[in-house]
Structure formats: structure tokens, C-alpha cells
């Protein structure tokens, strides 16, 4: 083998084996299949083991990336996962859903000339290897402190807080409104992107460590935050997510067949409606589906519709391709699966039939104007460019807001204009004594890893408080 080809092999990234687009677009099984041992070790060797690793700066929780990759390269998989766990307790999830291209991989030095090291794929490999072949060792706990903590919400931020505090010897109870734990990881992100068994196994580990889980508990209704203190909890962490769907507020939005992405995805994922009628929850089977928005939520909705048997699915987005906020891998996957992108297009009203069902929508063409507050060029409607798009199902995925159920029932908790909880970004402290908050309910809909990072900081702060006071 000549010097040149070795160089070339070194510079090209190990491709991720995937289900073929033609097949996967009609099933709910996971799309990327994961690296083999050999592929993982080969990919690990592409890492230059930088002295000043810029990749770590890109990771919101500061995973020791060269450290864990080096161990994979040496075939020390069990050690590798331990290295990741030091900073990230849910690597099987993050490896799959982090927007790596703007985080760790976006900063990787190799990415300057070639494709960056596949940090996400490697993180996933280490975590999957441990789950499948590991000894299932659970970390040791510190001596019991007798302090009680209530964690409200079982999304990634709540699970992180629970995991950190149980190890520090506290008595932790997670209170979850739904009948299942996991937050967006179970009700939002579909099986084909994040198998639910992975989330379940993470939760099972927490339970093994002694975390108590009370599902079906809507804090603010079933019990209030103040009542939790009366019941003897010493601290409360609020990680309730951004559970309020935004709609377009245009005529015809209450027609049958116009659903929020939250409703559509909850039916599909949490209620497993894709198995209907073998489960009892139905889901609308659109033949011609339009999904409004171009974030992860929109891609997940569009790809779900395709898997439920739609003939045609389109993403309708008012900006251009460049501004689409979804992970690049998902945009790519969606395209491969035959989803059409109607860009620079904005719906102006929904059209229904006499039964109140949606049969189409009127849209207007947009063009990009001056940059707006977000720094992105603002889309402006092109006068007189209205046209009709036929569709029998519309999924609205244009963002989420702060759900007021808990916040409105809790006195002393300051909120910002959008209704999000004001919390110190360094430690998660709110304006109410003994109450911390983090994740989407503080930042607005963000990412899994940011929600976990906020949880970790809050857990440290809660631990300090329980030892030394507010």
C-alpha cells in the first residue's frame, strides 16, 4: 500500500451503516445501525489527540473527547465509557441526537481539511457496547444524607439531576406528568432516531440506584411545589420542558387534520399509534402531508408521516435551506426518504371541506430581506404570489413556548416575558428559595445536551445547598 492511500484512508471518515432509504421510510426501526468494533477503532485512529483539543470547547458539558476516543482506539471500551460518564450520563442518547456539526465535531481540527472525527458515532458506539456487552456495573453511592429532593419532569435535565444527586447520597423522587418517563426523548423523538429501549434502560439504571419515580403526577395540579416542601422535601428541581405548542394563528387552524407536532408525535411515539388498531390510540393517516417548520421537530414529523404510509410529504418553511435549524443528518435523511422541501413558502390560511376537514392551504412565496434579531435574514412575503397547496394533513412544527401549568401555580417563582423561569445560568437557582430550574423551561426549546448540562450544574448547587445552605 502506498503512502498516499494510507493518508487518504486516514482522512476519510468511517461511514455509518444505515438502513436503505427505500426500506426504512416505511418502518420505525432505527436508521443508523452503529459502528462495528473495527470501524470504531479505525475511526478513533483518525483523531490527532490534540494537545489543546478544540472539540471539547464545542461540547456543552466538556466531555474528554480525545481521552475517550483514545481508549476506543486501544480497544478499551469499558474504560472509554467510564471516561464519557465523568461528564455525560446519557451518552447513548447524546451520541444519537446532539447536533454535533455545530458542537464537538464543528470544532474538530480534522474538519478543517477533511471530514471531522465522528465523535457522536464513537460516543454512541461506546455507550451501546457497554449496554450490550458491559458488566452492568452501577457506580457506587455516597453515604445516605437523609435529605429529600423532588425532581419535577423526567426529561434529560430531570434525569441528570436525579442521577447526580442519588450518587451523592440523597433521597431522590422524580415526579412526571405522563405515564412514562423520558420527556421529549419518549414522546417527541421517534423510535427510528432514538429507540425507546435505550431511554428505558437509562431510567432503569437510575431506579436500580434508588431513584423513586412517580409517574401520573402533574405538579401544579396533583400537588404544588409548596406542598412538596410541606411533605418534607428539602429541595425541588423544575425541569418541565417547553411543553406549549405554538400555532400559526391563521384562519382554519382548528380544522380536523391540522395538528400540533406535539400531538402528532405524542400519538405516534408515546401512545405507539403507528401500531393502531393493536393499540387503542388512533393517528390521522395523511396521504398528502404538509409539515410546517424546518427544525428537528418538523423533520421527525415529516419522516413519521412517511412511515405511516403517506404518498407525499413536504416540509413547508418560510426561510431558505441555509436557515433550517434541524440537525444536518436529519435533513439529509429526510431528503433521502423522498420528503419534498417547499422553501421560502409560508401558509396564510387553511382550507376545509363541509365536514370541517382540511383539504389544502393557501401559501405565499417569501423572499429574504434584512437580518432580524436572530441574525438570520428576515423572510418577507412577495405580494400577490399566493398559491394553493393540496393536503389532507398538516402538522404544525413552528416552535414551542413555556407551559404555564406549574409556573402559574407556584408563588415566588419569577418568570421572564415569555413565561420561562428566570434561573441563574451558573447554578440553576430560581428566585424561590429551595427551588432550582433548568432545561427548556429556562432556555426555551434547545437541545438534549444543554438540558443535561443545566441539570448537572443545578445538581452541584443543590448538593452544596443541602450541606451549607442557600
Amino acid at each position: 500500500m502506498s503512502e498516499k492511500t494510507t493518508q487518504k484512508e486516514k482522512s476519510s471518515r468511517q461511514s455509518m451503516p444505515e438502513q436503505k432509504a427505500e426500506v426504512r421510510k416505511r418502518n420505525f426501526e432505527e436508521v443508523p445501525l452503529g459502528y462495528s468494533k473495527e470501524a470504531a477503532m479505525a475511526e478513533a485512529k483518525r483523531c490527532l489527540q490534540c494537545k489543546k483539543p478544540s472539540c471539547i470547547e464545542g461540547c456543552p458539558v466538556g466531555v474528554d473527547i480525545p481521552g475517550f476516543i483514545n481508549l476506543i482506539g486501544e480497544g478499551k471500551f469499558a474504560e472509554s465509557i467510564k471516561k464519557i460518564w465523568e461528564k455525560n450520563s446519557l451518552p447513548a442518547i447524546c451520541g444519537r441526537v446532539c447536533p454535533q456539526e455545530i458542537q464537538c465535531e464543528g470544532k474538530c481540527i480534522v474538519g478543517k481539511k477533511a471530514e471531522p472525527v465522528a465523535i457522536g458515532n464513537l460516543e454512541r458506539f461506546a455507550a451501546d457496547f457497554e449496554r450490550l456487552y458491559g458488566k452492568g456495573e452501577i457506580p457506587s453511592k455516597m453515604k445516605s444524607t437523609g435529605k429529600k429532593i423532588a425532581v419535577v419532569g423526567s426529561g434529560p435535565s430531570g434525569l441528570t439531576v436525579a442521577g447526580d444527586l442519588i450518587l451523592k447520597g440523597h433521597d431522590v423522587t422524580v415526579l412526571e406528568a405522563f405515564h412514562k418517563t423520558g420527556g421529549v426523548l419518549v414522546y417527541g423523538i421517534p423510535e427510528f432516531r432514538l429507540p425507546k429501549s435505550i431511554v428505558a434502560s437509562e431510567v432503569a439504571t437510575l431506579e436500580k440506584l434508588g431513584v423513586k419515580i412517580n409517574c401520573n403526577t402533574v405538579v401544579g395540579k396533583s400537588v404544588t411545589v409548596d406542598e412538596l416542601f410541606q411533605e418534607g422535601y428539602d429541595a425541588v428541581y423544575v425541569g418541565v420542558g417547553a411543553g406549549l405548542p405554538y400555532f400559526m394563528n391563521i384562519p382554519g387552524e382548528n380544522l380536523i387534520g391540522v395538528l400540533s407536532a406535539n400531538e402528532y408525535l405524542t400519538r405516534a411515539n408515546l401512545m405507539k399509534a403507528y401500531l393502531f388498531p393493536n393499540v387503542d390510540t388512533p393517528i390521522p393517516m395523511g396521504k398528502n402531508v404538509a409539515v410546517l417548520g424546518a427544525g428537528n421537530v418538523a423533520m421527525d414529523s415529516a419522516r413519521t408521516a412517511m412511515r405511516l404510509g403517506a404518498e407525499h410529504v413536504s416540509i413547508v418553511y418560510r426561510r431558505s435551506r441555509q436557515e433550517m435549524p434541524a440537525r444536518s443528518a436529519e435533513i439529509h435523511h429526510a431528503e433521502e426518504e423522498g420528503i419534498e422541501f417547499k422553501l421560502l413558502t409560508n401558509p396564510t390560511k387553511f382550507i376545509g371541506n363541509d365536514k370541517g376537514r382540511v383539504i389544502g392551504m393557501e401559501c405565499i412565496k417569501m423572499e429574504l430581506g434584512e437580518p432580524d434579531a436572530s441574525g438570520r435574514r428576515k423572510p418577507v412575503p412577495l405580494k400577490g404570489s399566493e398559491f394553493i397547496v393540496d393536503c389532507d394533513l398538516v402538522v404544525v412544527a413552528v416552535g414551542a413556548g413555556a407551559n404555564p401549568l406549574l409556573t402559574r401555580s407556584t408563588e415566588g417563582l419569577s418568570l421572564n416575558k415569555g413565561g420561562y423561569i428566570i434561573a441563574d445560568l451558573e447554578n440553576g437557582k430560581t428566585t424561590k428559595k429551595g427551588v432550582w430550574a433548568g432545561g427548556d423551561i429556562v432556555t426555551g426549546q434547545a437541545t438534549v445536551i444543554l438540558a443535561m448540562g443545566a441539570g448537572r450544574k443545578a445538581a452541584d448547587s443543590i448538593h452544596k445547598y443541602l450541606n451549607w445552605g442557600w
Binding site: A177, F178, H179, C215, N216, V218, K221, S222, V223, G243, L244, P245, F247, E253, N254, I256, G257, L259, S260, N262, E263, T266, R267, M271, K272, L275, F276, P277, N278, V279, D280, T281, P282, P284, K355, G356, N403, P404, L405
Partner: protein, 278 residues
């Protein structure tokens, strides 16, 4: 599991009562609030109003009409068995005040939803006039309890098999002609609530109705339960289920309730077939 401690069939077995162990819900629940129940792993999340609660015993009572697969499945649950999940109390409680004379109008299983509100209004010291109706005598529910909670009490049946022959709205009109009423509460099938509200509007009587759109989470997260009230979209699970009867868009609600008609019917038929086979 949330255990069923008492079970009764009413209205020729078309309506079922379950008293369920749920101590923390029983402690908190107020008239007008509902729970969401899920029978088993594959089950659907079904909202039902609490017809009664017993905080001491730690139980709640639901009364439901068997209309589709999920309620048919609920009907098969025996005493000692139970629901995998019960979530609540959800929704806003009825705003109970002393206002003077109130008329409570109930139709079908709506009477079950109406009963705790009627009792609450009576407890506040109002003069309570109740009108309940059903298609025929054998389908009437909670007659004795409603009677007990009322100062004046009327029954209607569509076929005249008992009480006044005709609709509850006819009796309501007679009362409004004679009496000065401060508040009306109308709970029952959507068309009934629509007509009750139409009449009370003519007499300028404030009216509360309780809406039953299709729900999933019951916490304001999905927007599936949206209804139009006074031209604005409301999430019935958190802002309701009670609304100003004069402002509700009933026609939209009736249509939205049909969203899954075909799917629901197929699901029910499959269930009936499997029951027969077993």
C-alpha cells in the same frame, strides 16, 4: 394499579360507575375537575369527570357511557381489578358562588358531570332548580342523587316514558318564563348544550357548559383539545373544561369530535370480535 373498589351498571348497562382508589387525587379534587385514565399498556388516555370523591376513603368515582373501544374495555374491568394509570385532578374547578337561583340542566351521562356541581351550588346556599333528561326512562341516571341536591327537580324523557315528554330545553324555557334565574349550568351532548345556551341567551342568563373535546395529555401540551370560545382558541384541558356557554363554537366542536370516527369504529369492531372469540 388504581384499584376499582365498587362497580355499578346503570341505564341498561350503557353507563358504568367505578369507584377507584386514588387517595392523592381524592384529597385534591374539586367539582368540575376530571381525570385521565388508561386501562393497560396499549390503552388510550381517556378523560372522565369525577362524579364524586371521598377524601377519607381515598376514592374517586367516575361514571361513563360506553361509546367505543376504550369505554367498552373499561366496562370489562371488575372490582379488584383496576386501571394502570389515573392522572388528575385536571382542569379548572367550577367557580362556585352564591348567586341566588340557579338552573342545572343535564342530559345523558352529562348528568354525572353535573351532579357534583349541583351539589356544590346547593351547599353554597343557592336555590337550585334541576332538570335532567334522557331518551327513555331506563336510560336516566342519578335521579335520586340529583333530586336530593336540588330544591326543585324536573325529569324529561324524549319518548314520554317518564316525567315530562320532550326535551329539557322545553322545561327550561317554562322556568325562565316564570323565574328570575342568576345562573344556568348545562351539561350533556353538544347539541343539547348548544340549545340550552341559545335559550338562556334570549333570557340573558349567564350560562356555564362543560366541553368534552378529544384529549391526550390534559396538561396543555398537545393542543388537541382546542375549542373556539368567543372567537379565541382555548385549550379545554387547562382553561376549561367549563366555558361561557354563549361564546362557544358548538358546530366546530361537533365536527372535531368526529376526527377519528372511522378509526374508532374499526377499533371497536375488532374488540367486539375478539371478545366474542374469547
Amino acid at each position: 394499579m388504581y384499584k376499582i373498589v365498587k362497580r355499578e351498571e346503570m341505564a341498561e348497562g350503557t353507563v358504568v360507575l367505578n369507584e377507584i382508589e386514588a387517595p392523592s387525587i381524592a384529597k385534591k379534587a374539586k367539582p368540575g375537575q376530571f381525570v385521565i385514565l388508561k386501562a393497560n399498556e396499549e390503552g388510550e388516555r381517556i378523560p372522565l369527570t369525577m362524579a364524586d370523591t371521598d377524601p377519607e376513603k381515598g376514592t374517586i368515582t367516575i361514571i361513563y357511557m360506553v361509546v367505543g373501544k376504550s369505554t367498552a374495555l373499561f366496562k370489562t374491568l371488575k372490582v379488584g381489578e383496576g386501571y394502570q394509570d389515573v392522572i388528575g385532578p385536571l382542569g379548572q374547578a367550577t367557580h362556585l358562588d352564591k348567586v341566588g337561583t340557579v338552573v342545572c340542566v343535564g342530559g345523558g351521562t352529562g348528568v354525572a358531570v353535573l351532579y357534583p356541581i349541583t351539589r356544590g351550588l346547593k351547599k353554597m346556599g343557592n336555590h337550585v332548580i334541576s332538570i335532567i333528561g334522557a331518551r327513555t326512562k331506563s336510560l336516566l341516571i342519578l335521579e335520586d342523587k340529583m333530586k336530593e341536591a336540588s330544591d326543585e327537580f324536573y325529569v324529561c324523557t324524549d319518548d314520554g316514558s317518564y316525567g315530562h315528554k320532550g326535551f329539557v330545553t322545553e322545561v327550561l324555557k317554562n322556568i325562565l318564563d316564570k323565574t328570575k334565574v342568576a345562573l344556568a349550568v348545562g351539561i350533556g351532548p353538544v347539541p343539547m348544550m348548544k340549545f340550552v345556551s341559545k335559550i338562556t341567551k334570549d333570557y340573558d342568563v349567564k350560562t356555564i357548559v362543560s366541553l368534552n373535546p378529544i384529549m391526550i395529555d390534559g396538561t396543555g401540551m398537545c393542543g388537541g383539545c382546542r375549542v373556539s370560545v368567543g372567537g379565541k382558541t382555548k385549550f379545554a384541558c387547562v382553561e376549561g373544561p367549563e366555558f361561557d356557554g354563549h361564546a362557544v363554537d358548538y358546530d366546530e366542536l361537533m365536527k372535531r369530535l368526529q376526527a377519528y370516527r372511522e378509526e374508532e369504529e374499526n377499533c371497536r369492531l375488532k374488540f367486539e370480535a375478539s371478545k366474542k372469540a374469547a
